[in-house]
Structure formats: C-alpha cells, structure tokens
C-alpha cells in the first residue's frame, strides 16, 4: 500500500498536476465567493465557512477525478489490478493519496482564506483544521470510490459531481456548521455531535469503499 502512495507522490512531484488543479480551483472559488458576498457587509463572517467548504468540495472533485484519469494512460489501472494485492488495498492507498493531496492544498488555501475574511490565527483556527481533516477524509473516501466508477462512463466530467455531491452532503453540512461554530469562538465540546457525525461518515464510507471497490473497477 505504501508503494502505491509513494508512486502517486512521485508522479505528483514530476507533474504537479493534481496540486495545480486543486489550488487553481480552490483559489478561484475562494475569490469568486469572496466577491459574491459584499466585502463591506457585517454579515460577511457568516459566509466564511461556506466559502471555505465550497472551495474544498469543488477543488476536491477535480483532484479525485484526476487520480483515476491518470491511471488510464497505458492502462495503468489494469497494471495495478494484475498485482498480487487486494482490490481493497488499492482503494485505501488511492483514498489516502487523495486525502493527503487535498490536505496539502489547504496549506495554501487556508492562509488565503484567513486573509480574505480577516481572521487572525488563534486556537479557533486549529479547531477548524481538525474539522477540515475529518471532512476531507470523508470526501476522499467517497470521492475515490465514485471517481473510479465515473472515469469509465460517458461525460465523465459531469458524472462524478452528479454521483458524488448528493452523497457528500453530510460532509458539507457538518463541515460548514462545525467550522462556523468554531470560528465564532465555540470550543470543540460544543460541536461534538458534528465531529461525531463526520467520524461516523468517514468510517462508513471507508468501509463501504473498501468492500465495493473491486466491483467498481472490474470489467
């Protein structure tokens, strides 16, 4: 499993395509939504968590799609399937890679987000990071499974969001509410039920993905 992770990391190092896609769409979404909501209005802070998570979701769809598009060249996915390892392990490795890439993108996106919304680094931000980690994990788990499927269908750019977004709603809702509460100064204890929701979602999706992946990739 580590081998696959390492391989994806190496490819990324070479081509930087996934990070480029993640950052481009992430930054653009942040920008657009920042302007969409009146910068001078007092209600601005309310838009903050939504903007952040919209950026995560839109850039995430691209990243997760790319992770399987890349495997189509030279039928590398089949090369992987020929190896003597479990299909489920391939899934976990791919999901982990997507998770790490999305997290890495946050290194750029989060500071930008803070700048746009005039937030100062504090304990709250650390808690936001925690929410981000849980949410992105769930997104990566669902996204990896559905990306593997949608990459084979017609109109694949459309297929993935269509399949993924309804499924990923709990992450969006949980992420936005928890981030919002935390940014407003609440402690982790108060958002506990949301964190639990995210954890449950993550576990369920990872297990289902691990079991279902082989059906998603065989011909």
């Amino acid at each position: 499993m580590l081998a696959i992770l390492l391989k994806d990391y190496l490819i990324e190092l070479r081509t930087k395509e996934t990070l480029a896609a993640l950052l481009t769409l992430g930054v653009l979404t942040l920008l657009v939504l920042s302007f969409a909501f009146d910068p001078t209005s007092e209600l601005r802070p309310l838009a903050a968590p939504g903007t952040l998570w919209a950026a995560v979701v839109f850039s995430g769809v691209l990243a997760v799609n790319r992770s399987f598009l890349a495997e189509r060249d030279n039928a590398c996915l089949q090369g992987l399937l020929l190896c003597p390892i479990d299909r489920g392990t391939i899934y976990l490795a791919k999901a982990a890679a997507n998770f790490l890439f999305m997290l890495a993108a946050q290194v750029v996106l989060l500071p930008l987000f803070m700048v746009f919304f005039n937030l100062t680094p504090s304990g709250a931000l650390f808690r936001v990071c925690l929410v981000l980690v849980l949410g992105i994990l769930g997104f990566a788990a669902a996204g990896t499974l559905f990306a593997a499927m949608s990459v084979r269908t017609r109109a694949r750019e459309v297929m993935l969001p269509l399949l993924l977004l309804p499924i990923v709603m709990p992450v969006l809702i949980g992420g936005v509410v928890a981030s919002g509460a935390v940014l407003a100064g609440k402690g982790l204890g108060e958002v506990q039920q949301w964190m639990q929701l995210l954890v449950v979602y993550d576990v369920v999706l990872l297990v289902v993905g691990w079991l279902a992946f082989e059906y998603a990739v065989e011909e």
Partner: protein
Amino acid sequence: MHEAAIRAEQLTRRFGVVAALNAVDLTVLTGEAVAIFGPNGAGKTTLLRVCGTLLRPSAGRVHLFGEDLRGAGAAVRRRLGVLSHQSFLYPDLTPTENLEFYARMYRVDAARVAELIDRTGLAGWAHRPVRTLSRGLEQRCALARALLHHPDLLLLDEPFSGLDVEAVQQIETLLGEERRRGVTMMLTTHDVERGAALCERALVLARGQLRWDGPSADLSRERVEGLFQIRRAG
C-alpha cells in the same frame, strides 16, 4: 507429471450481444509455448485477458495451475506475467521508477530491477520518463515489468507489433531465455513465421472459436489464412 498451466472449459465471454469467446475448451501444459493466430476480432486478446484475470468469463471456467479463477485470490496473480497492447507503465516516471514500483508491489528485490534493465538493453534510457521512449524501448520495459517476479506463466498480446528489427530480436532473445527456464508461454501474433519459430504449438481462433490446434510446424501462412475463411455450416 505435467500439471495443466491453463485449463479452460466452455469458456465464453460476451460483450453485449456478441460472444468474443464462444465455448472454448483449451488446455495448456506447464512448460508449453503456444502461439495463437486469428483475424482481428477473433477473440485472441479477450482470451488472454480472461486468462490474465483482467476479465471474468460470462460462462464456463478457467483454471490456472489447478486453481479456479472464480474464487482465486491475489496469490494466483503472482505467477502471471502479462504483456499487452498497453504497457502498464506510468508515462511520467522513468523505467527505473516504474520497475521499482512494480518490484515493491510484487515484493521483489531491487537488484532484480537492475538486472532486468540490463537484460532488456534499457540501461541508457533508464532515467528518462517513459513518455519520451520509442515504442520499441517502451515495449521492452513492459516486458521487463512482466518478467520482474519470475512468473510461471507468460501471457503476451502481440509482443512484436510495431517494433523494429532490433527490438524484435531483443524480445525474441529474452523470451527464448524464459522458455529455457521452463516458463509456460501463450502469445498472440499476426506474424506466423515468428510465432511458429518461438512456439511449438499453435492455435487458430476465429469468431470466438478454436478452429485449429496442433504443432506449429504443420502450419503455414496459407493454411492459417484458409482457416480464417471457414464458415460454420448452416
């Protein structure tokens, strides 16, 4: 005792309505080398892919080294080496990196990678992305990938197509060496002479069915083409 490396019983594989393979019965013994000829669309690639665990039969069974592929786990894939139209190589990585990756996946020593790079004559290009290699070099690298883990069964889909003379000779040498080690081999090709030279047994596949099965020495180009034309009575 010759165990059957491949045993296909009434193997059928459909794509939609069309049967690419139709009730094929086939036994390949360990150590044999079989060349499969047939017109385009005959089902040669499909046969190889089913035996390579990449496709599941629509009906019938396939056994590899005695194990039914239906319930087979990862272990049987360890004994398989597959070379296909597509190289299974990541275009942005170098041959070395590609082979090292697959070596880790198959739990093979790193030294083996170096050895294969030498044997396939890739040494000069081992540090350039696969994207930049010519088809002949890429094919050699793909073969190296297939041989990494000392497979007992080699499945090769048109290994010589689109290659220049030097590349073809390289591959022939490599395959000859593997044969001497007792590896079972099944390959498809349009090149009747070369296929017959490499393999002692030949099959002719047309429209998903086996038309001919016998020593390759008995086969000539004209005969093969004649077999392509045969239509089923009624």
